[in-house]
């Protein structure tokens, strides 16, 4: 972005890198009909294709909208299992899937306690929202034993993933 002011620098994050095993976790996974506890391990093992794990700001803010519109328009689900994660509740995730026309396409983990972001080293304290933290925007492409094949974590706020680059990791 070419702005005449500095965006917020978040600094480096200590996150899983390419070749590392992504931490496993279990959280409610929301699809268009229901949610239930599912582990990341179960998700990556489900099919032969790679898994895209996408951390995004809470549902309702513009980054979540932009990211999911892009994922939908680029048809990532044709080549990958795509799951998202934010601190939003399962109810909000249901709305997001509906509003972004992603029903039956992607599923969203709900992690209001932000523990997954902690485990991934990408937690982000939000200025001006006391008591609330969320993951930094981040994308991990995983193979079927959770090995990281591609990792991107925002170092500025706000920031959005380089979609072409992510795509080249699984297409």
């Amino acid at each position: 972005m070419d702005l005449d002011f500095d965006v917020v620098d978040l600094g480096p994050a200590d996150h899983p890198e390419e070749g590392d095993e992504a931490p496993d976790f279990t959280r409610p996974l929301v699809n268009h009909e229901y949610w239930g506890d599912v582990s990341l391990d179960e998700v990556v093992a489900r099919e032969d294709d790679p898994t895209v794990l996408l951390f995004h700001p809470m549902d309702g803010a513009f980054p979540a909208t932009y990211v999911w519109n892009e994922v939908r328009d680029r048809g990532w689900v044709e080549d990958a299992t795509v799951v998202g994660l934010s601190i939003s509740t399962p109810y909000a995730h249901e709305r997001l899937l509906e509003e972004r026309d992603l029903e039956g396409e992607v599923e969203l983990f709900s992690d209001p306690g932000n523990g997954v972001a902690e485990a991934y080293g990408i937690a982000h304290d939000l200025d001006g929202m006391e008591g609330i933290e969320e993951p930094r925007p981040a994308v991990f492409v995983l193979d079927d034993d959770r090995t990281v094949e591609y990792a991107w974590v925002a170092t500025e706020w706000p920031d959005l993933p380089d979609y072409d680059e992510v795509e080249s990791a699984f297409r």
Binding site: P28, E33, Y34, W35, G36, D37, V38, E42, P90, E94
Partner: protein, 113 residues
């Protein structure tokens, strides 16, 4: 999802569902919870498995039984897994004909979610 033999369709904070939860836990049964939307019209997954949109509903792969309505479910769990029951697997032939489902529909009482 997981390999639990019992799938339990429920609503958050629904007392009828919690009644079933307590029984499942009492008998130490392995179950997978699937939470559905509060909006009755959006519970298509429940309709698909049980024939109607009311919750709680369970699918028990041990016996082949699918049923809804908490009173019936609790009664079923008591009979199938409670004290004095003859165990889960041995009775599967008895209940796998879907008889439980028609019974639960017949006995449906008002008031459940």
């Amino acid at each position: 999802m997981s390999d639990s033999p019992i799938t339990f369709y429920r609503l958050q904070a629904c007392p009828f569902c919690e009644r079933v939860t307590r029984r499942l836990q009492e008998y130490g049964l392995d179950y997978e919870s699937r939470f559905v939307e509060p909006m009755h019209s959006e519970r298509n997954v429940v309709k698909r498995i049980s024939g109607k949109r009311s919750v709680p509903a369970i699918v028990d792969e041990n016996t082949g039984v699918t049923m809804s309505e908490s009173g019936n479910i609790v009664e079923y769990l008591d009979r199938e897994y409670g004290e004095g029951s003859d165990g889960s697997r041995s009775s599967s032939e008895r209940t796998s004909d879907g008889g439980e489902r028609s019974r639960s529909e017949r006995e449906e009482t008002g008031g459940e979610a």
